[in-house]
Each structure stands twice: as C-alpha cells, then as structure tokens.
Symmetry: C2
Subunit: 438 residues, 2 copies
C-alpha cells in the first residue's frame, strides 16, 4: 500500500539513479553482482553513495569493500556518518582495516578509533559523533550562524547540546526554541537545563526503550566524567528495538544466535544455527521415553492409556508456551520485572486452575467414550495437573533464567514443551499406576 | 542503567511534581487510586496534565474520565494532541462521548470527528492533525514567522508540508533548510518536490515500516484526492512496531488477541484469551491418539516403540517451530514475501535433510542400545522423515495462512507442534508396522 502511493510519484521505482532514496538504492544493489554493484555505487554523487553504502547489509558492505579500490573506499567512508563508519570498520578484516586507515584524514581516523572501541550492545556502539554543540555564553544569533555552517555534516540539529569548557553536558536547546528566541539572548538563558543522558556503557536496548518511552528524537551519551561523547538517534533506536524483537522471536524457537536476514542466509548458516538445540532436545526428550519405560507394566496392561498420551503432554506444553511467551515479551518491553514474580505466580495459579479444569472436562468426555469411567477420571485428573504444571513452569522459567543472567527468551517454545512433556509423562502414569495397579 | 544517570540529575525520581516527564508522571498515576490520581493530575499545569493524561494506559484514561468533572475533562482534552484526543474519544462510551463534546470548542469537535472516523489499524487512525503547512509563494522570512507563531501547538515543525490551494501536498521543507536559505527566497524555490506520502487507509504497520526504512521523523498522510490530512510521527511509528511485535509474539503462543499489559490484566481476561485455543488443540491432539489407536496391534506387540514416541513427535514439532518462527518474523519485517515461497522451499528442503540426518543418527544410537538393530533402523528412518516433514510444514504454513488472508503468526508454536505430532505418529507407526508386522 505504501508502494502504491510512492509509485504515483516515482513511476520508475526500480531505476538506479540519484533521484532515489538511499534505502531503495541499497536494495537494488543487493540484487546485483559485486562488480555491477561497485559500478552502480560509483555512478552516484559521493555523498549519496556514502548514504547508500551505509544502508547495505553487513555482508554486502564487506564484499564491496573487497572490490572497491582503496581510494574509492576511503572517499566513501570519509563521507559516511560516524556511527555507520565505525560499524563498517568493526566488520572489516584486520587486513582491510589496515588498508583503509591511511586513506582517511586524521579526524576520521580518530573518530573511528573512538567509536569502534565500544563494546557491542552498548550505547557507545550505536551512538554517532555527528551532533552539534553550543556553549552557554553564545548569543542565539551566533548559535544559529554556527548551526548554519555545520548543519550539512550533522545527523540532527533539531536538538543541540550545550557543553562547558570540559565538554560536560550542561543543557540542550531545540532548533524550534532558537528560532523563537530573541537573537540577543544567550544560549544559557534559553536552554533546557534538565537534559536526559545515558552512559556510554549502558545497554543499547534500555537506551532505545528510553527514547521510545520519552518520545525523543535523540538521547545524548556521556562518559564517566559527564562529558558528552555522542548521541543515539531515534532511527537507530527503532532499529535496535526491531532487531531485539527479531532476536527474541528466534530464541523462542531455540535458534542459537540471530539470523539477520533469512532471505539471504546460506543453507550452512541455517543448519548451524538450528542443529545444536535440536540435537540437545532429542536427548532431553529421551527422558520422556525413559519415564515411559519406568511404567512399562502399566502400559502393557492398559494400552488404551497410550492413546491419551499425545493430547496430555501436548496440552501441558501448549499452556506452558502461552505462559512463557506472555512473560518473556512482558519482560522484554519492561511491563514486568523480577520483583513482580510473587504477584504473577499467585495470579498464574488461578488462571492455570481454570484452564486445567476446562481442558480436563473436555478430555474426560472422550475418555468416557473411549475407555470408560475409570480411564476418564484418570485422564481428567492428569490433564488438570499437567496443564497447571505446564503453566507454572512456563511462567517461572523466564524469571529463573533471568535470575541466573541468561536470556529469558529461550524459555518459551521448544524448551518449555520438552520439560512439560517429561512432567506430563510422570504425572499421567503415576496417577494411572496408582489407580489401576497399586 | 538509564535510571542511574537520570537519578544523578533527578534525585527525587518518585516525587509527583511539574519537573517530571509526563511519561514518568503517568507511571506514578497508574499506581494511585482513581480519586488520588484525579487530584494529582489536576495539580499539574494544564498543558502538562494533558500530556500526562495522553501517556496513561487506555483503561486508566477511561477510569479517570469517569471521576473528572465535565469541565475538567474538557479542559484537558482540549489541550491534548489531535491523535491522542481522537484515540481517547474512541475509547469512551457513547454516553461519555456525548457528555464531553459540548465542553469542547468547535475546532476540537471537528478535529475529533475527522480523526476518530478512521478504521483502527490504518494510517488515518494513528495520524495527528498537529502539523504545520506552508504555501509555495511564501518567502522564507514569512514562513519562519508563521512557524514561530504556530510552533507551540504543533507536534513537529522540523519538517513542514507545502500545499496548494486545494490542500494537495506538493512538497516539504525542513526547518534546517529554512534557516540556511536566504530570507527572500520563496518556499517554492527551497522546498523538496519529491515528498513521500501514504494514503489514509494504508496499513499502520506498513506506514511504520516505511518510517523505519527511510529514517524519517514524520510521514504525511493524504486522502484519495492527494489532499494532506495528517502526519504520522516517528514516535507513534515506533509504538506501532513494538505493539505489532508483541501481538505476533503472543499469537505464536496461540493467545486469541493481544494482552496489552500482562502486569495489570485480570485473571478473567487472561483465562478468556488463552482457553479457546487450548481446548481446540485438545481436540486436534486427540487425532494423534486416534492415529495411535489405529496401530494398536503394533503397539501391543512391540511396547518398546512407545518409548521413542515422545522424542520423535517432539523433534518434528521443534524443527517445525524453528522453521515457522524464522519465516513468520521474516514476513513481519518484510525480509521475505509471498513470491519468495518457491525459493525458500528449495532451500528449506536441504536444511531439513541435514537436520533430519543429524537427529536420526543421534536417536539411532539410543535405539540400538534400547531395542536392537531393527528398532534403531525404524526409529532413525522415522526421525529423518518426521524432522523433514515438520520443517516443511513449519515453513509452508505461514505462507499458506497469509495466502488465505490469515495472520501467519499463529503458524508458529502450538499449532505447528500439534500438526507435527499427528504427522509424527502416522509416519512412525506406518514405518514400524511395515517393518515389523507387514
């Protein structure tokens, strides 16, 4: 639908020329061979080429870095935004890095070194150095003139940060406020003194959540001494939140580490990311078989019990998947925290009891029809306990993993299902054995 | 971590006063009784009270609307942004709506009527009417003066939209460009003519994705005649993407419709959203039992086969959950589209074959130990076919659902597991019966 409107204005959407948005140009490049992509990229004006290069997938960036001449790559890299440049640098091989650095000016080299040093997943790793600063003693008129000169190089001048002599962040001012103020006022008079900031080592997800919560365009980043070292912009925050959601999604299905774009991932990569957990779960699920072996006599005497095995263990797993998914997402968005565990457990108990009773009634009717009164009673009792156990395990596991510093996302899906399976087998056959044999 | 830095600057984070951000004030109000919340809200300056009210959870907004006097509510609603006001209006009961309208000025009443009319989930439903417009014949100087006058009422003046006499969108101009341009130039000379826009009926998720893709601050919304009717801002786009991710997450676990905040949801609500699918899946899983019943003779003769049942059906479900989750998320983020189905299927076949072989080897060792050569062979062959079947079902189901206009998200998790269970039982026992009995 978006495309329809865009097409009205841009009849030749697929043409590779300078009238297109860099995000679209990057998509077109992705479909070309590396050599063709190199030629197309170099046909663009330098600043657009740099923006387009920044929008490419990481693998394409590295591939193109190989086929571009040193001087070509250096020219593009010089034009890139600070954060994109540092990200690219971290992706190159040490040999490529060494080849690139001499082609850059001193300022860009230092900028790369500063930004690339931050640990992945921190505010430092996603911040940019392309922000504008002002000092408190400037007049509004001088400040506007400074911004006019610097504007083309900065990611955003909608909010400018005010620093003291030691580069400590002391306030901020919106462009809107500058054009509203009298030209003779000083920045110190018009700036907002309370400026939210994050530390360079803060978790990128928390930073992105803060930008979302407070509806900000950018959030300044300070070092341990309160000195301004960068800003995180709203568009990067959006990308972080989307990537974290994708990662959580994939983790719930026991995929080892994030597949960035499944459309372009190789067979080998997909196999590697899936096989570990799949094999591990084979051994976990053999425990259910061992549980069954323990009740061999009961099964041999009452084969009818086996018919209800799939539905009982599946229901426990399904209830567990519901509970854990609700909890995992609520923890990811910050709706639920560690301290809420007790309160959530009490409520989950009530919900699980109701769900257990409902499913027990549903299955007992089939039990009555297929196996008679005794079997119906056993199956219903097992269903009640298995659904309750599944729900409580599903609810608790994300907290438990989080408590031990692990990612709660792996708690939903196959892991819960496997644990619920084992619990289901044990509950079902211990009840059946007690009723029918003991 | 974010909190730590904020605390340095705001020692009394939990105090309810006008120095706090409205998002934080709203969180404090959520924890109060309605009467206390009313008092606290009214203690704030009107414009801050309106912003805070807009940040409240929908249920709290409706609750407060009941305890606020008509005049108080009308004053707050008048100060709210157009989109927040329309959202609130849609949440009120018809009686509350009728009580509120007479307290508002004509302009706000019409604004509500215009915005509230759009269908939920469309660009129209999330757009705001608080944007600034210019005409092409204005000089830059006059334009800046107009923006100075209007700025306080607009959500963003960082990008202003240029319209013709019929309010048709003909271009846009960034505040940055205005302050860089000579005061005597006309807007027609400095504006960007190619302005991306979406239609009022476009899907909100696609609109949000466009804002993310092109790193925009806002996206203008036009009606069928190309007339500008609103803008969608980056912060609302971020909220849409996060809410859609949460909804998809919950759907994968077969939760009927989105639970907005699980921390505050009632037991009754949680039960209702979970019970339908859980009971439906009970009946689906009984099919697996029926499958087992069909092979009763084989089972009675070879009870050892039952021990491998849980691991075989669980592995099919796990492989299916991996495939479907990867596919569902890739479709949600736009990495994979309907037309990619054939290509993805071919690749999935290779990945599934490798995964099937690996898990077959793993389980055959246990088969050899527990049941001898013949059982090991049967179990390994069953594992290979079941994992492949699970993967292919998991990969295809999201496309299939999408093809029939259903949400692909329900395809991952319990639904796939249940289908894989049935397939697993049939594959396993038909192989076993052919080998051992037939």
């Amino acid at each position: 639908m978006v495309d329809e409107v865009l097409e009205k204005e841009r009849p030749q959407e697929a043409v590779f020329d300078a009238s297109q948005h860099p995000a679209d140009l990057a998509e077109l490049l992705e479909e070309m061979s590396l050599d063709a992509a190199r030629g197309s990229l170099l046909s663009l004006p330098l600043s657009l080429a740099a923006d387009t290069y920044a929008y490419l997938e990481p693998e394409t960036q590295v591939g193109l870095a190989k086929v571009l001449a040193r001087g070509e790559l250096a020219a593009i890299v010089t034009e890139m935004n600070g954060d994109d440049r540092a990200d690219l640098f971290n992706r190159l091989t040490p040999k490529q890095q060494q080849a690139l650095l001499p082609g850059l000016a001193q300022a860009e080299r230092e900028d790369i070194r500063r930004l690339a040093a931050h640990e992945e997943g921190t505010a430092g790793a996603i911040m940019t150095s392309d922000y504008a600063t002002l000092t408190a003693n400037l007049t509004v008129k001088d400040a506007l003139n400074k911004l006019r000169r610097e504007a083309p190089d900065k990611e955003t001048i909608y909010r400018t940060y005010v620093i003291d002599r030691e580069r400590r962040l002391i306030g901020s001012v919106r462009l809107q406020q500058l054009i509203l103020a009298s030209p003779k006022q000083t920045i110190g008079q018009v700036m907002e003194r309370e400026t939210r900031a994050v530390s360079v080592g803060d978790d990128q997800e928390e930073v992105a959540q803060a930008i979302q919560k407070y509806d900000m365009i950018a959030l300044p980043v300070v070092d341990d001494d309160g000195r301004l070292v960068g800003i995180v912009t709203h568009d990067d925050a959006m990308d972080v939140l989307q990537a974290e959601a994708t990662e959580d999604f994939q983790k719930t299905a026991m995929i080892t580490s994030m597949v960035e774009n499944i459309g372009t991932a190789s067979i080998r990569l997909l196999y590697q990311k899936r096989v570990h957990w799949l094999v591990l779960l084979v051994f976990a699920n053999l425990l259910s078989g061992a549980g069954l072996a323990f009740y061999e006599d009961t099964i041999a005497a009452y084969v009818v019990l086996v018919f209800f095995l799939p539905v009982l263990i599946a229901s426990g797993g399904n209830a567990g998947a519901q509970s854990s998914t609700l909890m995992v997402r609520a923890m990811a968005t910050g709706d639920v925290e560690m301290k809420d565990w007790g309160r959530m457990l009490v409520r989950e108990l009530s919900v699980a009891l109701l769900l257990g009773l409902t499913t027990a009634i549903a299955v007992s009717m089939i039990g009555l029809w297929r196996g008679g009164f005794e079997i119906a009673l056993i199956v219903a009792a097992a269903m009640l306990l298995i659904v309750m156990a599944g729900s409580l395990i599903g609810m608790s596991m994300p907290f438990l993993l989080s408590r031990f510093g692990l990612d709660p996302a792996v708690a939903s899906g196959p892991l819960i299902t496997s644990i619920a399976d084992i619990a289901g087998v044990m509950i079902y056959f211990s009840i059946a054995t007690a009723f029918l044999i003991g």
